[in-house]
Amino acid sequence: MLAQHLFNGLMLGVIYALVATGFTLFFGVMDVIKFSHGDVVMLGAFTALATYAAASGAGITHPALLLAFMLAAALGVMALLGALMARVLVLPLRGAPAINVLLITLMAGTAIRESVRLFYPQGSNPKPFPRLLPEGAFEAGGFTLRYDSLILLGLGLAAIAATGLLLERTRLGLAIRAVAQDPETAAVMGIPFRATVLATFALGSALAALAGVVNGLYYSEVNFGVGLLLGAIGFSSAVVGGLGSVWGAVLGAMVFAALQTAGALVVPGGSAYRDVFAFGAVIALMTWRPAGLLAERSAERV
């Protein structure tokens, strides 16, 4: 039982972490919250779904090949969309209050969600997500470990690790970190601000697309409203962990998943109160560590 709950929580945490990483990246370079992020996750899943339909319509049946196509399409299209949104919605509002970016991206998210609901065939209904990973499971007592879940867990963890390495070891990562620290100085050092921002948004949105595909494969189902709660949870995770830090986002996501799972198990009155419990705990955590669990250390200038 306990092992099963631990694994369930871990899997949930990895999906949340993929979403939270995007929030933390955007905040790092632009100090903004992009509220459409959850809906980009959803659109990523639907892009993969449409690609699956097209590819299997074209006669491709090999699961690995199909999956590769789906991932390529979802990640590629979402990365482009992310850069486009940064270009059209975020960068032009640089002079306005940061909260305006929040509203404009929120509305962009609504537009994405409503468009999928209205224009994807039968979009207001839940869609089955194809089962492309090997079926079968390892059973021991009450513990079921499915191979597909294990693969997804590995995929998610690898993506997060790769993002961390990219930020720490590559030139692009260096540029992102420099812009996050101080755009003006970065510009003086010859780091192009706009290009770096666009690249960051593309990266974060590709991660969102991956989250969407992993989510779809894990639950075998996707629906147009899935981004709403995932977005709120991803944001919460990023903040709880400490905005601007990838490892903080991962930690925050794991904490949130643990809170939800624990909430469903230990709170009297059953699982209906689990969100009350989880969000109450978030408020308590924030009071304890006001700048997140892994806060960047900074002294304020007076």
């Binding site: 509305m107 409503e114 709880v240 905005l243 109160y273």
Partner: protein
């Protein structure tokens, strides 16, 4: 040279005219035409600097303008006296603006972005549902405001310790938590909701239509609309006063730079919490009256999306400018209703419209102006 009063009066009259037109038209094409006229007027006002002249004129006649606005409000109610639906929309706009005024105090002055506006609205509304009929209605409104402020105090400590997006998350978490709690817990009607008794004053029950004779009957929403507009007007005057006082200056200082303000002896924390509580009280007040107008409360009306509606009003209005709230509330509350003809497509169009407004006017409809002290050049 004395500044003429007419530019301010003309601006008020044009605003009232647009509001009346938007409330009265139903047809898709007519709604879009009214919107186009409004947008055109805004552009013209900006190009010809007519907006600035109106603002200067309003500043020079601080007594006249509120009277003109009140007269226009009353005129609007009289014009719509038999139109139940238009009056209900007017009530909703007025009360959402009242709640947004609370958020404006919190955000525009103390820098606390409140993403749980609907939750505090809900506290007021549920107060009206539980206490209505047991207490005089006026007391119910006051209690609703008080309880909302009290509920907000729960967040005082976390909010004092956090800033910016971190503080925003605390309000988001609270909003989600309260809504789920109302739904799961059955003591307050659970998901099914509760009926709310109407407002009564002396012997006058607001829920009865006003019948003069067989042919003349005014909607029962007339007294509600008058009350809502009066509350909004009074609160607006109060907020303006506050803004010009040293309290407003202190709040501004806290918002712009808490650390520097502290260095000058302004106790940021206390002011922040005070502004937060007053703002929530306004939300609670609006919620209590809105519940009486609607006659029913249930958890789905106080979801995160409804909190975002309030935030949208504050941002679209132009952060820090209470005058912008009213047109913004009109846009956010009335427009989706007027787009009913588009059925399932209306939210898509609404989202696109808001994106356009923000792109074309990044500072909101009527952005905040710099503080000016009378007597300074």
């Amino acid at each position: 040279m004395p500044v003429a009063a007419w530019p301010a009066l003309a601006a008020v009259a044009i605003g009232a005219g647009l509001a009346a037109a938007l409330l009265l038209v139903h047809h898709k094409a007519a709604v879009l035409a009214v919107l186009a006229v409004g947008a055109a007027l805004l552009v013209v006002a900006q190009r010809t600097r007519a907006g600035e002249r109106a603002a200067a004129s309003a500043a020079a006649h601080p007594r006249l303008v509120p009277v003109a606005v009140a007269a226009c409000g009353l005129g609007l109610v009289m014009l719509l006296r038999e139109d139940n639906f238009a009056l209900l929309m007017l009530c909703t706009v007025a009360l959402q603006t009242l709640a947004a005024l609370g958020l404006h105090l919190q955000f525009g002055y103390a820098g606390v972005a409140n993403f749980a506006g609907a939750a505090f609205l809900g506290v007021g509304a549920y107060t009206a549902a539980v206490l209505g009929g047991h207490l005089p209605s006026v007391l119910v409104l006051v209690t609703g405001a008080g309880l909302a402020a009290l509920a907000g105090l729960l967040l005082a400590l976390p909010l004092l310790r956090t800033r910016g997006h971190y503080a925003a998350l605390i309000t988001i978490a609270f909003g989600l938590l309260l809504r789920t709690f109302l739904e799961v817990n059955d003591t307050l009607g659970g998901p099914q909701g509760l009926k709310v008794p109407g407002f009564t004053l002396g012997g006058l029950a607001f829920n009865d239509a006003i019948v003069f004779d067989e042919d003349t009957e005014w909607s029962f929403y007339v007294p509600y609309a008058v009350l809502a507009l009066a509350l909004l007007g009074a609160t607006h005057v109060l907020v303006r006063r506050l803004e010009r006082s040293w309290i407003g200056l202190a709040l501004d200082a806290v918002r712009v730079d808490e650390t520097a303000a502290a260095a000058f002896g302004v106790n940021g924390g206390a002011w922040k919490i005070a502004a937060f509580c007053v703002g929530n009280a306004l939300c609670g007040l609006a919620g209590a009256l809105l519940a009486m107008v609607t006659g029913f409360v249930a958890p789905p009306s106080f979801a995160f999306g409804d909190s975002l509606v309030l935030v949208s009003i504050v941002i679209l209005g132009g952060i820090g400018n209470p005058l912008g709230l009213l047109p913004a509330a009109f846009l956010v509350v009335v427009l989706p209703e007027k787009l009913q003809g588009l059925q399932e497509y209306r939210f898509l169009l609404f989202a696109v419209l808001v994106i356009l407004v923000l792109r074309l006017r990044p500072g909101g409809l009527l952005p905040r102006r710099l503080r000016r002290w009378p007597g300074l050049p």
